[in-house]
């Protein structure tokens, strides 16, 4: 069941103002649209010579030539039109855009309020079953998607991707823009880019996802790297706010990640190309209250039923209660963030000793100048947790910091200031970490049975008010031993 996020009073006033403006503007725009019957009649257009190529195609529920976005997309290829305007309404379909003939295409809702232009996945049909994605664009450069809301899809809200699995091939997904998009309660991801170079997701919101609201998958290695920018985003009530497997050159900034299981998780996995995840930045974000216990029966979001895998008969699940988790990541900088109210770890970094090829070693990550715990009023259980693996991970300039200790290694070894000394003065240099941290704390936590009992080890407290946000708590809570 879909629910809208809360809006503050300012947002409501802005929406009202925009609505009034739109009410005045839309009739004029519709009458001017070149592809509507009224416009064609007014201009005396007919068949034959002199027929001009339209600059844009307009989609609407009533009175337009195109009543589905897909119809307009198909026509745009034939007519070489680069802009599709979608008027307010609910479009029950999954849109497919395939190939470079669509390079430079813009699909935009005509209303600045993204919630007015809905791509609805519920009851939407596609080839082979239910429609899987609100919009899936394959091998398209310079695609722009704006002012829309994709919800309830079997897979993803908005997906842009390169389809060629050959890691050395030409990059066929460059410089997309996703702006002012909403994505909610899609099964996998809200906004998803795979094997793309460059690109930006901005002023967008994602909630209710079984994986993450925003996901940047395997990014091709580039000699002159293009940055992928994620900014002015909000992610809440997701298993993960941001996730990026084997992503590179990602700059995540000026966004809010709250009420997720984990706020942000750059990670390295065997399953995608371009291991490891490297060279990203997480800066100037609000990362708070990521204590969403979606394992509880009353959670509106469900995650993978069988867990992430098994170790010795124990099921591994995602951790919860964590602000930032660098999982097998290298060369990430986490700086100037406001991190508070996460009941397990504010920030964490760890390796994956089970990775084939040992590509998921935590290396050269820096935690700099982060403001933790809102001056002691809304603390993280501990601000930093590290497993003691890898090398070059360091911590400098962070405010009000607490570090999770180990009896097997000193804090100087686990949490050195920058630059970190070489192993064994700090880190093991390998994917194997401090036993107490890696095999005790981490493994013990992610194999908690039942997984909702992860919450039993949290350090909880009431959250003081923060802006207009509301903490999310699934009730009833777990039955702790």
């Amino acid at each position: 069941v879909e629910e809208e996020p809360g809006l503050n009073a300012l947002a409501v006033r802005l929406a009202l103002l925009i609505s009034v403006v739109a009410l005045v503007a839309i009739p004029a725009q519709a009458s001017a649209a070149p592809d509507t019957p009224a416009a064609a009649a007014a201009k005396g257009k007919g068949k034959g010579k002199g027929k001009k190529k339209p600059k844009s195609l307009t989609v609407c529920k009533h009175g337009c030539k195109y009543r589905s976005i897909q119809d307009a997309v198909d026509k745009a290829k034939k007519k070489k039109v680069k802009k599709i305007k979608v008027e307010p309404g609910k479009y029950v379909e999954g849109v497919l855009i395939d190939g470079h003939k669509y390079d430079g295409l813009t699909i935009t809702g005509t209303h600045k309020n993204a919630k007015k232009v809905i791509l609805e996945g519920k009851n939407a049909k596609g080839e082979g079953g239910p429609a899987q994605n609100g919009i899936e664009a394959t091998n398209v450069d310079d695609l722009t998607l704006k002012n829309m809301w994709a919800r309830n899809y079997a897979a993803n809200g908005f997906l842009v991707r390169d389809s060629d699995p050959d890691v050395g091939s030409t990059i066929d997904c460059n410089d997309y823009l996703m702006k002012n998009l909403y994505a909610s309660f899609n099964r996998s991801y809200g906004m998803y880019a795979f094997q793309c170079a460059g690109g930006r997701i901005t002023k967008s919101v994602g909630w209710g996802h079984g994986d993450s609201a925003f996901y940047i998958g395997g990014t091709p290695i580039q000699d002159d790297p293009k940055t992928t920018s994620l900014d002015k985003l909000e992610a809440f009530e997701n298993v993960l706010g941001y996730s990026g497997t084997n992503s590179h050159y990602v700059d995540i900034h000026h966004s809010a990640f709250y009420n997720n299981g984990v706020g942000l998780v750059p990670n390295t996995l065997d399953s995608e190309p371009f291991e490891p995840s490297a060279d990203g930045v997480i800066r100037e974000n609000d990362i708070f209250w990521n204590n969403f216990n979606y394992f509880l029966p009353n959670s509106r979001v469900k995650t993978v039923s069988g867990g992430l895998g098994e170790i010795g008969g124990a099921t591994i699940n995602y951790p919860t209660g964590v602000g930032v988790a660098l999982f097998g990541a290298q060369g990430w900088v986490v700086r100037d963030n406001n991190i508070f109210g996460n009941f397990k770890w504010g920030s964490a970094a760890f390796s994956d000793p089970f990775n084939e090829g040992d590509d998921a070693v935590s290396r050269d990550n820096q935690f700099l100048d982060n403001l933790n715990g809102r001056g002691g009023t809304d603390t993280n259980a501990v601000d930093f947790w590290i497993d003691g693996s890898g090398s070059g991970n360091c911590f400098s300039g962070n405010v009000s910091s607490t570090f999770d200790p180990s009896s097997g290694a000193t804090n100087e070894q686990l949490y050195p200031t920058c630059p970190a000394p070489a192993p064994p003065a700090s880190g093991t240099g390998t994917s194997g970490g401090d036993p107490e941290q890696q095999l005790g704390d981490l493994l013990g936590y992610v194999t908690t049975d039942p997984p909702e009992n992860q919450e039993c080890s949290w350090t909880k407290h009431p959250h003081p008010d923060y802006k207009d946000y509301e903490p999310l708590e699934v009730t009833p809570g777990p039955d702790c031993p």
Binding site: E127, Q132, P165, S188, Y189, S271, P273, F354, G432
Partner: protein
């Protein structure tokens, strides 16, 4: 350190053994129930990972209802003259089917292009 390595090795072996048993189980079950061969598309594996069929046979790729991840099926390599475009599904998570027909004899290497290193399936088509 050596004790921990041994423990990790044992755990890896357990995981590998578990995966093998699961794959065999699914393969035999689908073979018994369906005339059209079925390949399960799951997070993040195909099952079975190889099969032999007669020419002009369809294979049904069926997405698991438990998936959270998105997957597709694509032809990586096939017999000469076979078009890759004829073996390309959409990107899907659940409740999705893709049923290509294998007309030309030879070996078809298919994969999930979103998880190419861990999701591969070989289809051998006999004359």
């Amino acid at each position: 350190v050596s004790r921990r390595s041994a423990a990790l090795g044992a755990l890896l072996a357990l995981i590998a053994l578990g995966g093998s048993i699961a794959a065999v189980g699914v393969a035999s079950m689908t073979a018994a129930k369906k005339k059209t061969p079925v390949v399960l598309v799951a997070d993040d594996y195909f099952s079975p990972t190889s099969l032999k069929i007669k020419k002009k046979t369809k294979v049904k790729f069926k997405w698991s209802s438990n998936n959270i991840n998105t997957h597709d099926v694509q032809l990586d390599k096939g017999p000469k003259g076979v078009k890759k475009g004829d073996f390309r599904s959409g990107s899907a998570a659940t409740n999705y089917k893709f049923t290509p027909k294998f007309v030309k004899p030879g070996t078809y290497d298919l994969l999930c292009s979103l998880h190419p290193d861990v999701m591969q399936v070989e289809v051998k088509v006999k004359r």
